[in-house]
C-alpha cells in the first residue's frame, strides 16, 4: 500500500481534512432531517390522516436518484456543499419520520394517563415522557439515516468535486492510482461503522432504564 495517504494536491485537503469535510457534509443533513422530522412526526401522531400522504411524499422524494437531485439543485445553489446536503436531509426523512411516529405511538396509554394525572401539560408530556420512551426507535432510524448519508456524500464528486472523500475516486481514475479508490471506499465504510457505534453508545447513555444485554440491534 504505497502512498495510501499520499493525496494529490488538487484535492486541496489533507486526508484528515477530507474526513472532517465528509463528516460535516454527511452529518449536518441528518441533523437537519431530525429537526425537521420531529414536528412532522408529531403532526402525524396528532392527526392520523396526515401520516399516509406524508409517508407517500417522503417515499417519492427518496425514489429520486441522488445524482439527479444534485444536478437539478445546481441551478439554485451552484456547485456547492448546500446542493449535496439538501437531498441528503430530505432522504433522511423517509427513515426518520416513520421511526419517530412508531416510537411515539408505542408509548403505552397508561403511561400517558399517569403523566396527565401528575399534572403534565401537553408540551411537558411530549418532552419528558413521549420523546424519552421513543429514543430507542429514533436512534434505530438515525443509525440507518446516518450510515447511508455518509456513503451517499461521495456521489457529490460528480458535481464539481463536492464529494469530500468521494473526490479521491476521480483522482484514482485520472492518475491511475487504484489505491486512492480503495482508500476512499474503506475510509467511508469505517466512518459509517464508527458513526453507527457512536449512536449505539448514545442510546445506552440516553436510556439507562433499558436492559444492557440483548435487544441490541
Amino acid at each position: 500500500m504505497n502512498g495510501f495517504f499520499d493525496l494529490p494536491s488538487d484535492l486541496q485537503h489533507s486526508y484528515l481534512g477530507l474526513v472532517g469535510l465528509h463528516l460535516r457534509e454527511a452529518l449536518l443533513p441528518v441533523l437537519a432531517g431530525l429537526l425537521l422530522s420531529l414536528p412532522i412526526a408529531q403532526l402525524c401522531v396528532r392527526f392520523r390522516w396526515v401520516y399516509p400522504p406524508v409517508l407517500g411524499l417522503t417515499t417519492v422524494l427518496y425514489a429520486i436518484p441522488s445524482l439527479a437531485f444534485f444536478v437539478v439543485l445546481i441551478d439554485y445553489f451552484g456547485q456547492s456543499e448546500t446542493t449535496v446536503m439538501i437531498p441528503l436531509a430530505l432522504y433522511s426523512l423517509v427513515v426518520l419520520v416513520p421511526a419517530i411516529v412508531d416510537g411515539v405511538r408505542s408509548v403505552p396509554p397508561e403511561t400517558l394517563a399517569a403523566a396527565q394525572a401528575m399534572g403534565f401539560g401537553a408540551v411537558r408530556r411530549y418532552f419528558q415522557v413521549q420523546l424519552p420512551i421513543a429514543v430507542p426507535a429514533i436512534i434505530a432510524g438515525l443509525r440507518v439515516a446516518t450510515v447511508s448519508s455518509i456513503s451517499l456524500v461521495s456521489v457529490g464528486m460528480l458535481i464539481g468535486n463536492q464529494g469530500a472523500l468521494g473526490n479521491m475516486l476521480y483522482d484514482a481514475q485520472i492518475y491511475h492510482r487504484p489505491v486512492l479508490a480503495v482508500n476512499a471506499v474503506l475510509t467511508i465504510a469505517v466512518l459509517g461503522l464508527l458513526a453507527d457505534a457512536a449512536l449505539v453508545l448514545v442510546r445506552l447513555l440516553l436510556t439507562p432504564w433499558m436492559p444492557r444485554k440483548g435487544a441490541a440491534r
Binding site: P65, A68, S151, M157
Partner: protein, 222 residues
C-alpha cells in the same frame, strides 16, 4: 424555466422516443439491470434470512453484516470495481447487490423471527417436518414483512442503477450523466422523472403482489 417546463420539453421532443438513446431502450436497460441485481440479491438474502430466522441464530452477525453492507458507498464501490475489473456489467452488479442484500436479509430474518410461536408449535405437533414448518407456516405468515424488505431493496436498486451510466453503460442514468456534462437540464430532469416514475411503478407492483400473495387471514391480522 422551472423543473416542470424542463420535463415537459424533454418528453415532448419526439427525438427522445426512438433509437438507441431513446426512452424505450434506456428504460428497458434500466429495468434489466435492476431486475438482475434484485434477483441476485434475493438469491443471497432470502435463503440466508429464512434459515437464520427459522433457527433463531446469528441475528447479531446478520445485523453487523447489514451495517457493513450499508456503510460501503455504492458509488465508491462502482468506481473501484470499474478500475479493477474494467468495462462490463459486473462492476455495476457488485455495488447494487451489496446495496440490496442488507434490507432483504435483515427484514427476512426479523419477519421469520417474529412469527407467532403457537401456530409453529402446532405445526410441529401435527408432525410437520422442519422444511414444511418453514415453507407452509412461517413464510406465509411472515410474507408481508418479507415483501416489504424486497420492496425497499428494489427501490434502492432502481434509484441507484443510475450510476451505471458513469461507467459507460446504459440505463436511465445515461440522460442524467450526459445532461450533466452537456449542461442540458431538460435531459437531467427527464431522466430523473423517469427513474422516480419507475420507482413508483415498483412500489405499485409490490403493493399488488402483496394483495395477491398474502393470505386473507394474515392480512386481516395486520
Amino acid at each position: 424555466m422551472n423543473v416542470l417546463d424542463f420535463a415537459h420539453a424533454f418528453f415532448s421532443d419526439t427525438a427522445h422516443w426512438h433509437g438507441y438513446d431513446g426512452i424505450p431502450t434506456r428504460f428497458a436497460e434500466h429495468v434489466r439491470y435492476s431486475l438482475e441485481a434484485l434477483l441476485i440479491a434475493a438469491a443471497i438474502g432470502l435463503p440466508v434470512g429464512l434459515l437464520t430466522g427459522h433457527y433463531g441464530r446469528g441475528g447479531n452477525t446478520l445485523a453487523l453484516l447489514a451495517t457493513a453492507g450499508r456503510a460501503l458507498p455504492s458509488f465508491g464501490l462502482l468506481v473501484l470495481m470499474f478500475i479493477w475489473i474494467g468495462f462490463g456489467l459486473l462492476p455495476v452488479m457488485i455495488p447494487l447487490v451489496v446495496l440490496a442484500v442488507p434490507p432483504i436479509l435483515v427484514t427476512t430474518y426479523e419477519a421469520i423471527r417474529s412469527v407467532d410461536p403457537s401456530p409453529v408449535d402446532a405445526a410441529r405437533g401435527m408432525g410437520m417436518p422442519e422444511t414444511r414448518v418453514l415453507l407452509q407456516v412461517e413464510v406465509p405468515v411472515a410474507l408481508p414483512l418479507i415483501l416489504s424488505g424486497l420492496r425497499t431493496a428494489a427501490i434502492q436498486i432502481v434509484s441507484t442503477a443510475t450510476i451505471a451510466a458513469y461507467v459507460s453503460l446504459g440505463g436511465l442514468g445515461r440522460y442524467i450523466i450526459d445532461g450533466l456534462y452537456q449542461k442540458d437540464y431538460e435531459k437531467v430532469v427527464g431522466g430523473a422523472t423517469l427513474v422516480a416514475g419507475l420507482a413508483l411503478v415498483t412500489l405499485a407492483i409490490f403493493w399488488a403482489a402483496a394483495r395477491l400473495t398474502v393470505s386473507p387471514g394474515v392480512r386481516r391480522g395486520t
